[in-house]
């Protein structure tokens, strides 16, 4: 026979002891796990510090840079090599400092990548959750929209839209990109949601009358949060390539707005690519290092999300 206990039967000391014990037994929070994982992997911690520090630096430093002055043509400084005449990384064919353009360009490129990641991931996650949870006709319809979007040649569509709109800034550009970059996330989230929806806790929640939206966003979403974090980190690394790639082709940020892509586009001039390497190579190297560091962080995050692969001690 089960003994019915209620709170009054337990002494305060006992309650205290039980709570501490329960807390010790409980699985650590995901932030805790993440932090432990980074502490256990020194290179990952270093890349995290470098990436975060670098992003903070390029977000703050441009405030002190007079971008109008930076972008004015200075014919006297035409293609100055690095380390000469106060040009740390030299100057381009218009005599503009590469180092300053690199800082402002990084701010623009990283800013767009962050915006794009936030918008497209939020949309993709919501899409995948709703599609996977409701199933049936809703899922079918949403999957057809997904199929249609997957059919569109993305790069071409963005270029066409940018040509039509013509008068755009970095914010509208971020939105245009976001239209075409949510599908990968939505597919991933949907398949996990499908599996999650079949679990008992969801069934229990439905029987006890919890609303669908509450189940989706308060119960299922926290349970797949590790997947979401991993996917978002990796999307961020990928999204840096999206804006820079299109700016490189000349259909992202306009040429007078520095971006890592427009800086690499200096390489389109055969003279630049062969003799004046400093006009484009620093931006290319920066993108490579940044993407590698972010994806390395992503790898640690995905290890933290998978209990069997963690390196940190429990």
């Amino acid at each position: 026979m089960a003994v019915k206990t209620n709170q009054a039967d337990i002494s305060p000391e006992e309650l205290q002891r039980l709570t501490t014990e329960a807390n010790q037994e409980a699985a650590p929070s995901s932030t805790r796990i993440l932090w432990n994982e980074f502490k256990a992997d020194r290179p990952a911690l270093i890349s995290l510090i470098i990436v975060v520090g670098f992003i903070l630096f390029v977000m703050i430093a441009p405030i002190f840079i007079n971008s109008e002055k930076m972008m004015t043509t200075n014919i006297m400084a035409y293609l100055t090599p690095p380390m000469e005449d106060h040009f740390l990384l030299g100057a381009d064919a218009n005599g503009r400092s590469i180092a300053l353009q690199l800082i402002v360009g990084s701010r623009n490129s990283i800013g767009i990548a962050i915006g794009l990641t936030l918008i497209s991931s939020t949309f993709g996650i919501a899409w995948g959750l709703i599609s996977g949870y409701f199933g049936g006709y809703i899922d079918w319809g949403m999957q057809r929209v997904y199929d249609f979007m997957m059919m569109l040649p993305m790069t071409m569509m963005i270029i066409v839209l940018v040509t039509i709109i013509h008068d755009y800034n970095s914010i509208s550009l971020t939105f245009i990109f976001s239209i075409f970059y949510w599908m990968g996330t939505s597919r991933l989230i949907r398949s996990r949601t499908l599996a999650e929806t079949k679990k008992d806790y969801v069934a229990a929640s439905i029987t006890s009358g919890t609303g669908s939206w509450k189940i989706i966003f308060k119960e299922i979403m926290p349970n797949i949060s590790s997947l979401i974090i991993v996917d978002t980190t990796l999307s961020f690394a990928e999204n840096i390539g999206v804006e820079t790639g299109l700016s490189y082709l000349g259909f992202g940020l306009p040429p007078q707005t520095p971006s890592l892509g427009t800086l690499i586009a200096n390489a389109n001039d055969p003279n630049n690519i062969t003799q004046y390497w400093w006009t484009w190579l620093p931006a290319a190297i920066e993108i490579i290092i940044l993407c590698l560091a972010i994806s390395y962080i992503g790898q640690v995050v995905s290890r933290a999300a998978n209990a069997s692969q963690r390196r940190a001690e429990k």
């Binding site: 199929d147 059919m151 569109l152 790069t155 270029i159 066409v160 690519i273 190579l281 490579i288 590698l292």
Partner: protein, 318 residues
């Protein structure tokens, strides 16, 4: 299976119609009109107005759309204003170049990715697996266009090993045409393969790991088949078809990548034609190319889905 394929094709039809409407409306929204290129300085405003009238530019959009579709079905994609040539001829020439480059890249990618995937799966969790995972990870993360620019710089300009522009050198003839073509696609193809293996390697690896623990492999092992033969004749053979199915999905990636590859290497294929047409505002070419790329994406996915459906009945759509 036939029912699945039929259903899959039926779903495609509304998608293509929707795409054609979208492409048509986008073309309408672009600045300028189809006569921007063909008028000469002496044509008066009234003449242009007349031209617009007889060509139906003042009809409601669905009427214009219908006319466009009817022309499309007669194989008439319109005239290019920049090149003064039928769009179908223009694209035909460029498509051959893109096909060469894409097919070459794909063959190299498979040649590189299959052994790597097999090897990684065989040594699951050990050093080779880790090394291969790091390699695929690194190549996947770096934006492809940056690699192309750096590759062009190092191997095209600094070492001068490869040509940096064009598809076939104009002086080549006879067998020289083929070798010149190969010379031009070698560098972009190699870079594309080296940096495009991630999906196939990962898929192959998981196929091998699945197969390693399956019953037929255990049976073969207990019959005393040597380990080498198990991998060569049993596991590899069985993984080939699903891996081949991946080819269809790669089309999307190759087409999207062709815009970058062809622009950077000044390779006269469809991707470069697209960028040129955008710069010249050559609308008929743009619409034809977007429509074509969309349909190719769709066909690639269809192909992959059908092959995968044959291999693995669980994933057929109902």
């Amino acid at each position: 299976m036939w029912k699945t394929i039929l259903r899959r094709v039926l779903i495609m039809i509304p998608e293509i119609i929707l795409l054609s409407i979208l492409v048509f409306l986008l073309a309408k929204a672009m600045p300028g009109d189809p006569f921007t290129g063909s008028i000469n300085p002496r044509s008066s405003a009234a003449q242009i107005e007349h031209l617009k009238q007889i060509n139906g530019l003042y009809d409601p959009w669905y009427q214009q759309y219908w006319n466009w579709v009817v022309h499309l079905f007669h194989g008439d994609l319109g005239q290019s204003y920049q090149y003064h040539e039928a769009v179908s001829n223009l694209i035909g020439d460029r498509a051959v170049n893109t096909l060469w480059l894409s097919a070459f890249t794909m063959v190299l990618t498979y040649m590189l990715a299959l052994p790597l995937g097999l090897y990684a799966g065989k040594h699951e969790g050990r050093l080779p697996d880790t090394v291969i995972r790091i390699y695929t990870y690194v190549t996947y993360c770096i934006p492809f266009f940056v690699i192309l620019v750096i590759g062009l710089w190092i191997f095209g300009y600094v070492f001068n090993w490869f040509p940096t522009t064009g598809s076939v050198s104009p002086t080549a003839h006879g067998m020289g045409v083929l070798s010149s073509r190969l010379e031009h696609i070698l560098l972009p193809g190699l870079l594309g393969a080296l940096f495009g293996t991630v999906n196939i390697v990962q898929y192959m690896r998981s196929e091998v790991i699945d197969a390693k623990h399956s019953d037929y492999v255990r049976t073969a092992r207990s019959k005393g088949v040597p380990n080498k033969d198990i991998y060569k004749h049993h596991i590899f053979r069985n993984s080939l078809l699903p891996i081949a199915a991946f080819g269809g999905y790669s089309i999307t990636g190759l087409l999207n990548g062709s815009i970058f590859t062809e622009t950077i290497f000044s390779y006269p294929g469809m991707g470069m034609l697209f960028i040129d047409s955008i710069n010249y505002r050559d609308y008929t070419v743009i619409t034809a190319l977007v429509l074509m790329f969309g349909i190719l994406n769709l066909l690639g996915t269809l192909l992959s889905d059908i092959i995968l459906g044959i291999v693995d009945p669980r994933i057929r759509i109902d």
